[in-house]
């Protein structure tokens, strides 16, 4: 279990992490989502005691990471897969890690096999592809067979097969009862991997809910209707008690499926040019949610609406 309490990190002129409160529970995959520069990596570095919080605290299994007698056997982390000496072999990289925490050397062969690198274990890591480096990083994270696993952007640079492998691995680790905390800036990836979602932007929490809840709340769907008799159709639909909005030349109907909408309008002899079920993608929901938190937009909006207001806009469009 990982618990952050009012966790804050201020660099010289910027507030990178701004009072985060969250809990990462064991037995499920928790996705940590946010645009670049949202504070994900800084948060993960504070979990591992690499950066000291300016205020607040973060604990792993109830204590500070640094006080763990054998941290690699308690928390396995992948922070930066390419942070390896290019001249050292994969096996030697894992060997020094194992030695530092009193992990038996036999474990090195085990994790190499687990990530599928046993064939290239003796090769210098500098010659590794992006994906191989990522697998080595994951091998390092699993070396101590830790109950808590923290992976920062683990699918970066992986091919589709590798991405699926990470997804299945994360699932397996969670099913074994471990705490799995995975960061990403890709909503689509998280949607497939995570049970629980923590979304941050500009160092603040924007959402902290189960994946299902998040989907229901943010990925609204509607029926798109195009008809030459727009106003009539709108009146009919409003009259039947559904929510309708007009977007240019089309109507957006929520709360009813295509069948119901088609039958209602067809029953009144209205010609339809289009009748489509549209599901707003989670990616879109995420973009809308974090739009105000993206670094480049930081000063573009002087009124600075609260992030939640931005999330509301999406529902507004659909209703």
């Amino acid at each position: 279990m990982i618990r952050a309490e009012a966790l804050t990190k201020r660099f010289r002129d910027a507030l990178a992490v701004d009072g985060l409160d969250f809990t990462v529970e064991p037995g499920r995959v928790t996705g940590f989502l946010g645009p670049n520069g949202a504070g994900k990596s800084t948060t993960m570095r504070m979990i591992l005691g690499l950066d000291a919080p300016t205020s607040g605290r973060v604990t792993v299994n109830g204590h500070r990471y640094a006080t763990s007698p054998a941290p690699l056997r308690e928390v396995g982390a992948l922070l930066d897969a390419h942070a390896i000496h290019p001249g050292r072999s994969a096996r030697d990289h894992l060997r020094w890690l194992a030695a530092s925490n009193g992990i038996p050397t036999t474990r090195v062969g085990e994790v190499l096999e687990l990530v599928g690198l046993e064939g290239v274990a003796g090769r210098r890591a500098g010659r590794f592809s992006l994906g191989m480096g990522q697998r080595l990083g994951i091998a390092a994270a699993l070396l101590g067979d830790p109950p808590v696993v923290v992976l920062d952007e683990p699918v970066n640079g992986l091919d589709p097969e590798g991405i699926r492998w990470v997804r299945e691995l994360a699932r397996e680790l969670a099913d074994e009862g471990r705490t799995v905390f995975i960061s990403s800036h890709l909503m689509s990836e998280m949607a497939l991997m995570a049970d629980h979602l923590i979304v941050i932007g500009r160092g603040r929490i924007l959402a902290d809910s189960s994946m299902a809840e998040f989907m229901a709340q943010h990925a609204a769907s509607y029926v798109r209707v195009r008809t030459p008799r727009l106003a009539e159709a709108r009146e009919l639909l409003v009259g039947s008690g559904v929510e309708v909005s007009v977007e240019g030349e089309e109507l957006r109907v929520s709360g009813r499926g295509t069948d119901a909408v088609g039958e209602l309008l067809g029953g009144h002899g209205l010609v339809l040019h289009e009748l489509t079920q549209v599901s707003a993608s989670l990616e879109e929901a995420f973009m809308t949610l974090t739009a105000d938190a993206v670094e480049y937009h930081a000063h573009s909006d002087l009124t600075g609406p609260a992030p939640h207001a931005a999330a509301g806009e999406l529902t507004g469009v659909a209703s």
Binding site: G27, A52, A83
Partner: protein, 271 residues
């Protein structure tokens, strides 16, 4: 909840003992011997230190034995020590700064959150390895160079100042390596660390001489490079420097100061 999870998670590793400083040393040892730069630096130290010395003794033995010689054989038998400190500096720097360069230092401090232990382990290893390398280099240089001196009847016995210089050859390189390890943790940059230490011992060490009067003399004596080297030489290259053991003691104090600053900064700064 935590306990339940730990119970459900089969961790064969957790059954083993709690790691200690020896494990940190072992990890740093594995790191050190698993990159080529270590072997290149050690081999170059030996080749330059011993090879150059033997070459100089071979080429100058007859002149040193002649009446017109105005130098003693003792200043030639440790000739290589003019250059080997450079390699000890490179060795010490690479142990630390390549980790910062590759950002592998994060993995190191995640594995060993007690950063002082990492500094200590690296300093100990750098010192121990460079002591052995410096000692062997000085011994081979002596043995090889002395062959030519003995042919000319000016051989030096391995005793007194000569024996001290051989041991000192190890001590001086060990000292420079440890000093640079500490600077490496402060600067976190390979080129920066190597240039700074080399500038300090090779350029600034000579430059302070131009400060007029007694102040300049003392500054020259106290500069780390000038303080540490006499212990490795039978006859000091510069007669105005401190006595060998006095100088080495001064250097140790300076080295301890830099290590202490590095230690404090290491604990205070973000990795």
């Amino acid at each position: 909840m935590t306990a339940a999870v730990e119970a459900r998670t089969p961790t064969p590793a957790a059954a083993t003992r709690t790691p200690g400083f020896v494990d940190v040393l072992r990890a740093e040892w594995v790191k050190m011997v698993s990159v080529r730069s270590t072997w290149w630096t050690v081999a170059t130290t030996f080749l330059i230190g011993a090879g150059l010395t033997i070459l100089m003794c071979w080429g100058n033995a007859d002149w040193l034995a002649s009446p017109e010689a105005d130098e003693s054989p003792g200043s030639f038998i440790t000739f290589g020590t003019m250059f080997t400190p450079i390699l000890a500096v490179i060795f010490g720097a690479l142990l630390v700064t390549t980790e910062y360069g590759t950002r592998m230092i994060h993995a190191t401090f995640a594995a060993v959150p007690a950063r002082g232990k990492v500094l200590t382990a690296k300093a100990l290893l750098a010192g121990a390895v460079m002591f052995v390398v410096g000692l062997v280099t000085a011994l081979v240089a002596y043995a090889g160079g002395n062959i030519f001196f003995e042919r000319e009847g000016i051989g030096i016995a391995l005793e007194g100042d000569m024996l001290r210089a051989v041991v000192g050859g190890g001590l001086a390189l060990a000292g420079m390596a440890v000093f640079t390890v500490a600077v490496g943790f402060l600067l976190r940059h390979t080129a920066g660390t190597i240039s700074l230490v080399l500038a300090l011992i090779m350029i600034l060490g000579n430059l302070v001489n131009i400060v007029p009067g007694e102040l300049g003399e003392w500054l020259t004596k106290l500069m780390p490079g000038n303080a540490v080297m006499p212990v490795a030489n039978v006859v000091s290259f510069n007669p105005n420097l401190l006595e060998p053991w006095t100088g080495f003691a001064v250097f140790l104090a300076e080295c301890a100061a830099v290590v202490a600053v590095a230690w404090v900064m290491l604990r205070r700064r973000d990795a």
